[in-house]
């Protein structure tokens, strides 16, 4: 916790204001899956170099909102998004926006570790190769190494970079997926319950990692664990039945929420 407060103090000093600037902004975001409406006019800001946690009971729309941020909902035929989402004041649903480029800037880590059935090296090199980020083999090696280092995995796998990524343990696989996302140097990383398939020790490592990554990236994380939201995030947004119930600084949300539903949810009375 100490490191975290120091870091946020630093952050506040460097920007010179109390609030970090807004990286992504959602205005009146609604999502329909066919006839069914999953999200109702959500207004939510994601602040730069902070971890924003989205919490709420299952089916409340938090993952749906997350997937709007890098247009992953485009892959679902029946999903329809309305409202406005901006990244650095650019509308991400603008037809002129290249979704490939958007996803390079807003990376994603999924619920279940999903390394490709390729070598560890190839897993990390996949993104840079697609986007042509490396001009030479040496440069690519450098990107792979630094990404693995940032994901805290390099020391564990440096001797077996050419072995299959699927042979790692669950926690290592998830950190490999984080390294894979980092390798394309995104600005925002979206995490959809990244620890739900991991044991407590692996979870602790990933949480530490998220805290470190905050220095360089903006992170949005969906989680079912109240403790995790409290531990890793600076801001928390509570969703319920497709509505944004309440949003604010994590400390306040967990000690003195405005809305009774938030109070009930974080104390375990429903959800």
């Amino acid at each position: 916790m100490n490191i975290m407060t120091e870091a946020s103090v630093e952050q506040k000093l460097s920007t010179g204001t109390n609030e970090p600037s807004i990286k992504m902004k959602g205005e009146k975001v609604s999502v329909h899956y066919g006839e069914k409406r999953a999200l109702f006019d959500v207004d939510l800001d994601v602040r730069e170099n902070q971890v924003t946690a989205l919490i709420g009971p299952s089916g409340c729309g938090k993952s749906t909102f997350l997937r709007c941020l890098n247009r992953m909902n485009d892959t679902i035929d029946i999903a329809r998004v309305s409202g406005k989402i901006t990244l650095d004041n650019e509308d991400v649903y603008d037809p002129k926006i290249d979704v490939v480029e958007l996803r390079a800037r807003v990376g994603m880590v999924f619920q279940k570790p999903n390394p490709f059935p390729k070598s560890i090296y190839e897993n990390v090199a996949y993104g840079p190769r697609i986007h042509g980020l490396a001009r030479s083999k040496a440069e690519l090696d450098g990107i792979v190494e630094s990404s693995l280092k940032k994901a805290g995995l390099f020391n564990e796998v440096k001797d077996r970079l050419l072995e299959s990524g699927t042979g790692l343990s669950g926690g290592q696989q998830q950190r490999l997926c984080i390294a894979r996302a980092i390798a394309v140097s995104p600005e925002v990383i979206l995490m959809d319950e990244p620890c739900s398939a991991l044991d407590p020790i692996a979870t602790a490592r990933v949480e530490e990692l998220i805290d470190e990554l905050r220095q360089n990236y903006t992170i949005v994380i969906v989680t079912h664990s109240m403790q995790q939201a409290a531990r890793v995030s600076q801001r928390t947004a509570m969703f319920h039945l497709g509505y944004l119930v309440e949003e604010g600084a994590t400390d306040k949300m967990f000690t003195n929420p405005d809305d009774k539903r938030t109070q009930d949810y974080i104390t375990g009375r429903f959800g």
Partner: protein, 462 residues
């Protein structure tokens, strides 16, 4: 007569079911919950023992009696038959049987008529014997099982065990048939290899078994060993299979990719069944499509290009066979591609990869082993295919790699060797078995390799 017996036993079984059920219920004065097994299971138990042994006895009887009856005839008339060879004796018995029970009679004479009369009486006796045996078995089985039915009797376990034995028998029939076919292939092939050495068969380059006999009369049995070289057939098979895969592999794979990753639900709902209908077209229809439409088309196209295309060309047969196996390749590959988890597609898309990049760099490599095995299965299908090549590729055993010429395949030659009046012990006929054996070995190897590859692939995601 024995048919009536079977019907009677089935009626008995139904009655026994009802009796067993009633007795089980009566044994606990209607309080069914106290029974160890359900009333129906007691009924089944009684029915099985009332009819089962008797039916088994009938099956055994019907397998054994024809042999016994004919040997009795042969024995009674041994004096008349003493001067005859084996085929004549067989013909004699066949005719006697036909005269007694109806059928085609070669030619009648008084001895045969006498034999037929004996045949009839023996058969009637044996029918009476089986009636007596069956009824006795049925009665004793019924009595034994009936006396067992009681509150604590474990009828359920007995019924389960009998059902298990029945299921084992069913699967054994399939397996034993396969083994029997393979063994008959092997033994007939061995007879062939006694006449033609194995190396001449496997490595000979000249195939014209229609001229198998060098002489007549005393030399009629002599076999020209040099005309049974299977290399041209094998080369023809490979050539046609190669052309077929050249057509089917890319088209089938691309169709599978489109269906699994690009097609919308409504397109898929129409396109997939239509592709599968393509698989349901009888191969003989493909055959005349190849012979009457595709081959002439290729020939006229070849003429306009100044090429000499045979009217029955490997190209036409191969292309049509390729079209035939497209649905085979596409539906197997589609399954394999669909088995690649959605999470890998999401992961790749989340990194900013486009759909085609995802397919080329993630999905296809992950699905490759499965696709390879789909291809191998398609190859073994193509090698075994007969009808199209019979109609479109011709019979000439040319050793050539030119797809515009007529070639022939292993399967076509098996057909031509066995069609028409043949002696079943000539080298020419036996060659068909040897070819069948080689074909079997090839497709078996391909299938084993394909299944192995699939197994290895499955382990990746489980």
């Amino acid at each position: 007569m024995v048919g009536y017996l079977v019907v009677l036993l089935l009626v008995l079984a139904a009655a026994a079911y009802w009796i067993g059920r009633t007795r089980a219920i009566a044994s606990v004065n209607g309080d069914v919950a106290r029974l160890h097994s359900l009333p129906g299971q007691h009924g089944m138990f009684l029915a099985l023992f009332a009819a089962g042994p008797a039916l088994l006895a009938i099956v055994l009887w019907s397998m054994v009696t024809p042999g016994i009856e004919s040997s009795i005839i042969a024995d009674r008339f041994s004096a008349e038959l003493s001067g005859m060879g084996v085929p004549q004796v067989e013909a004699f018995i066949r005719d006697a049987h036909a005269m007694a029970f109806g059928g085609l009679v070669g030619f009648a004479d008084p001895t045969k008529e006498a034999a037929a009369a004996v045949y009839k009486s023996i058969h009637a006796t044996s029918a009476w014997i089986i009636w007596a045996i069956a009824l006795m078995l049925s009665a004793s089985g019924f009595y034994w099982a009936y006396s067992r039915i009681a509150q604590a009797y474990r009828a359920r376990h007995v019924v389960e065990r009998v059902l298990r034995a029945f299921l084992i028998t069913c699967s054994a029939v399939a397996i034993l048939t396969t083994i029997g076919i393979v063994l008959s292939l092997i033994f007939e092939s061995l007879r062939f290899f006694q006449q033609v050495p194995l190396y001449k068969f496997l490595f000979g380059t000249h195939w014209s078994p229609q001229s198998a006999f060098t002489g007549a009369g005393a030399e009629a049995g002599a076999v020209n060993q040099d005309i049974f070289g299977m290399v041209p057939l094998f080369a023809g098979t490979l050539l046609i299979t190669f052309i077929a895969m050249l057509v089917a592999a890319p088209i089938g794979l691309m169709a599978a990719i489109y269906l699994s990753d690009y097609a919308s639900k409504s397109v898929r709902a129409v396109a997939k069944p239509v592709l599968e209908i393509l698989a349901g077209i009888p191969t003989v229809v493909y055959g005349f499509f190849a012979a009457l439409t595709v081959a002439p088309y290729f020939r006229s196209m070849g003429e306009s290009l100044g090429l000499n295309v045979a009217s029955e060309s490997a190209l036409a047969a191969g292309v049509v066979m390729g079209i035939m196996i497209i649905p085979f390749v596409s539906s197997l590959s589609d399954d394999v591609i669909n088995a690649v988890p959605q999470s890998l597609r999401d992961g790749s898309a989340g990194l900013g990869a486009t759909k085609s990049e995802t397919i080329r760099k993630v999905i296809l490599p992950a699905a490759l082993p499965g696709i390879v095995s789909a291809m191998l299965l398609a190859v073994s299908r193509a090698i075994g295919e007969t009808m199209i090549v019979v109609m479109a590729a011709g019979l000439a055993a040319n050793l050539t790699a030119n797809p515009l010429e007529a070639v022939t395949t292993v399967t076509v030659q098996i057909v031509t060797l066995l069609v028409g009046d043949q002696e079943f012990d000539s080298a020419k006929t036996l060659a068909a078995f040897a070819l069948g054996l080689v074909l079997f070995c090839i497709t078996l190897t391909l299938n084993i390799v394909a299944l192995r590859v699939v197994q290895k692939y499955r382990e990746q995601y489980d």
